[in-house]
């Protein structure tokens, strides 16, 4: 049954056919026919008007990261489209499924430097999983089906649809399109059983095996398979920043966070283990430090769905291609039940060292101004460690990642690969729509909040229940820390002159509270969590606080600095 409708209407029906209920966007000239069609679909498609298109892209990311569904953005051509690009690049490097639909000048004006024309496909090709220009209404249903299939299958990523204005207004005989096969693209590679056997033999042989848990575990919904694998083999693990909530923080085999500001134990033990099993992670330089000294003693097994990750940074002994939900289960079946008690116990001394020299001082200070870690831990505990953590980028991000506790899957939304300041507020808005049943806590610094401050307008309009925790130190703290450590304390443009955030919150009608004293912290957090809707909690934290421990850039993972 085909029906004759406009391309814009076909887009609405195609989005509904994909199960879309929420989209984030901003109208403009070249996308007006589509927004006109959207007006008639308001009952089914909840469009969230952001205040800047970058916010729409990050909101779609936040939505996707917590829900596992595809986040959708709808913006106009030219500046509307280019404003989403940071979000597209961010989603690419962090494997987040989003579809950005941008208006475009009509086909007959393409290439003429028309008003608000930009070669969006050309610009986004290197930073998207797929980028396609819809030039006629005939293409709409197919392009949307292909976009969603590509965005969410295999290793997820962003897809850009460049929707020419003529294609929005032309008429087309519409019928929904199903698409589950692209001959050039294999999102579920066949698993090589020999590789599984070799990997299992290697793990069974190991005396000191160690697992690196990446976001691939969450993306593959393989959290249970991971737990079963670790428990059967009695193998300790460390988590990457994006993999932190793939296994509960309290699990005895979870030894904490990897990377530059991760925990001491998992970093040191990376260079002591005999078999390193990396699951759905990509050996980012923030995890490996100096590659020439990284895990040289170990045999390396790498489980990933993307073959281009094998040997990209670290040479792998046994690559295991496939969805880790399947490969982990197949490996577990071949594992011998083992106890590695001595090896697991050897993490303890590092945990104790880190606790006494770093964590205790950060989380339980008796005097002085508030610490960032102290604020994070207090918020985490007040939510019974069940909230979704959203972070901005910088010290707030590392402190939040380190001191928040995770009990549930898909609980950390952070800009890992791209390191996008300004990410937290819009991503948290998206997260409240992706999982309205969960508490969403967004930690940010005074730099990051101001980078997408306009999205407070979206929070106001939607009453999106984002619990914003501003950790204000009047500095661009992370850069300041590096300036202190590596640039002779020359604080080049890192002191931040701040506005009165209480007045800003008031102007947006968002309840807010500023905390300067330790004694007020618990009460303020209670007030924030009890508020029905958004809340801004400004904590005035120590100005020159440092995130420790630290592997200096290019340093060796087992030589972390504990003090600076």
């Amino acid at each position: 049954m085909k029906e004759r409708i406009t391309g814009a209407e076909a887009l609405m029906r195609s989005l509904e056919h994909q199960g879309v209920k929420t989209l984030f966007g901003y109208p403009g000239g070249s996308i007006m026919p589509t927004f006109d069609a959207l007006y008639g679909h308001r009952d089914k498609l909840n469009h969230i008007l952001v205040r800047h298109e970058q916010g729409a892209a990050h909101a779609a990311q936040g939505f996707a990261r917590v829900s596992g569904e595809v986040g959708v953005c709808l913006v106009t051509s030219g500046p509307g489209a280019t404003n989403t690009i940071t979000g597209v690049a961010d989603a690419m490097i962090d494997s987040t499924p989003i579809v950005v639909i941008a208006g475009q000048t009509p086909v007959n004006l393409l290439g003429t430097d028309a008003f608000q024309e930009v070669d969006l496909v050309g610009v986004t090709q290197p930073i998207s999983k797929w980028s396609y220009q819809i030039r006629s209404a005939e293409d709409v249903a197919w392009a949307v089906a292909r976009a969603f299939y590509i965005a969410k299958s295999g290793r997820p990523g962003p897809v850009v649809l460049d929707f020419t204005k003529n294609a929005q207004t032309e008429m087309v005989d519409y019928a929904p399109v199903e698409l589950d096969f692209i001959r050039t693209y294999d999102p579920d590679p066949t698993i090589d059983e020999q590789a599984i056997q070799k990997a299992a033999d290697m793990i069974n042989w190991a005396k000191k095996p160690f697992v690196l848990v990446g976001q691939g575990v969450e993306l593959g919904n393989a959290q249970e398979e991971l737990r079963a694998f670790l428990e059967k083999g009695d193998i300790p693990c460390g988590c990457t920043l994006l993999g932190l909530s793939a296994i509960a923080s309290s699990h005895p085999l979870n030894k904490g966070m990897l990377g530059m500001h991760g925990n001491l134990g998992p970093n040191v033990k990376t260079n002591e283990c005999d078999v390193l099993i990396a699951v759905g992670m990509r050996f980012d330089d923030r995890v490996t430090g100096n590659l020439a000294t990284y895990a040289k003693q170990a045999k390396i097994i790498h489980l990933d769905i993307d073959p281009s990750e094998f040997n990209k940074n670290v040479k792998v002994d046994i690559p295991v291609l496939g969805n880790c939900k399947k490969t982990l289960a197949m490996l577990t079946a071949l594992l011998e039940e083992k106890k590695h008690t001595e090896w697991i116990d050897s993490f303890k001394e590092y945990e104790e060292t880190e606790y006494t020299r770093v964590i205790e001082k950060e989380v339980c200070p008796k005097t002085g101004p508030l610490n960032m870690g102290e604020v994070v831990r207090a918020v985490s505990e007040a939510t019974r460690n069940e909230a979704v953590l959203v972070t901005d980028v910088g010290q707030n991000q590392m402190m939040a990642a380190r001191y928040f506790k995770y009990t549930r899957n898909r609980s950390i939304v952070t800009s890992g690969g791209l390191g996008t300041m300004g990410f937290s507020v819009p991503a948290a808005i998206g997260a409240t729509f992706g999982r309205p049943d969960r508490t969403v806590c967004a930690f940010m610094g005074d730099g990051g909040l101001q980078m997408n401050l306009q999205e407070l307008g979206t929070i106001m309009e939607q009453q999106a229940p984002v619990k914003m925790i501003l950790m204000n130190n009047n500095y661009l703290g992370n850069v300041r820390q590096w300036q202190a450590m590596f640039f002779g304390r020359r604080y080049s443009f890192t002191p931040m002159v701040n506005p009165d955030y209480m007045k800003i919150a008031e102007a947006y009608g968002i309840p807010a509270r500023r905390v300067m004293k330790r004694e007020e912290l618990q009460d303020a957090i209670r007030e924030m969590l009890a508020a029905d809707g958004p809340f801004l909690l400004e904590t005035c934290v120590v100005e020159e606080g440092n995130v420790m421990p630290m592997t200096p850039p290019g340093g060796t993972v087992n030589e972390m600095l504990l003090e600076c």
């Binding site: 496909v121 050309g122 090709q125 290197p126 999983k129 797929w130 980028s131 590509i150 096969f181 692209i182 001959r183 050039t184 693209y185 294999d186 066949t190 070799k198 033999d201 290697m202 069974n204 042989w205 590659l291 020439a292 045999k299 390396i300 993307d306 073959p307 281009s308 094998f310 040997n311 990209k312 940074n313 670290v314 040479k315 792998v316 002994d317 046994i318």
Partner: protein
């Protein structure tokens, strides 16, 4: 697995020792890419080289023997370690079917070149026509002003003819096609891959229907 050998390194023998990435010996690689015939794909393929600042020596794109599939033959000087990563990142593009790299030993390769020479100079110099014959090149056009010489062959042969003609001072223009190459392996990877993908899909559909 044999119980007795359990505590030895079962797979170690078959694994070469893991080496550092980033070997530094450069050689000329031929990269053959098959893709769907979609606008903008050339850009995506070359962008992988650009990102790593690898200079493309030659590039040839044309329809392949498989309907709807385009074939790219690219040559570039780089290291084996880098070319492996480049090829995987090209293959990662959604509409790329396959990308592989080859050394000269693994392919039969050819180029075509055209040499425009001045007719008076050419006729006035008996060496010039000897050179053309010795190189088995053909003269495809003659008029009072210029002649066009055409030569097929390996890259070095084409360069050699150019060098010799230039020494005679008669070359007005010179152009070469860039390399086209065919693998000398007995496996037709692309057609086999396509058959395999179609078969996988049929299997998957069958399984879905049973469930």
């Amino acid at each position: 697995m044999n119980k007795e050998t359990k505590n030895t390194e079962p797979t170690m023998q078959v694994l070469p020792h893991r080496e550092d990435l980033g070997g530094s010996i450069k050689s000329l690689y031929t990269i053959i890419v098959h893709s769907e015939n979609i606008a903008g794909l050339l850009n995506q393929v070359t962008a992988v080289f650009t990102r790593r600042q690898i200079n493309i020596e030659s590039l040839n794109v044309s329809a392949s023997s498989i309907p709807g599939v385009h074939k790219y033959t690219i040559t570039a000087w780089t290291t084996q370690d880098i070319i492996e990563k480049v090829v995987k990142q090209i293959e990662r593009k959604i509409d790329v079917l396959q990308a592989n790299y080859f050394t000269d030993a693994e392919i039969y390769q050819h180029e075509i070149a055209l040499y425009k020479v001045s007719t008076p100079e050419f006729q006035g110099n008996p060496m010039a026509s000897k050179i053309v014959r010795r190189h088995s090149a053909r003269i495809v056009e003659v008029n009072p002003v210029f002649c066009i010489v055409e030569k097929n062959g390996m890259s070095e042969e084409i360069t050699a003819l150019y060098d010799e003609l230039r020494a005679q001072n008669c070359v007005l223009q010179f152009v070469r096609s860039g390399r086209v190459a065919i693998t000398t392996s007995c496996f037709e990877r692309v057609s086999e891959y396509l058959d395999m993908r179609e078969e996988q899909y049929r299997q998957q559909k069958k399984e879905d229907n049973h469930e």
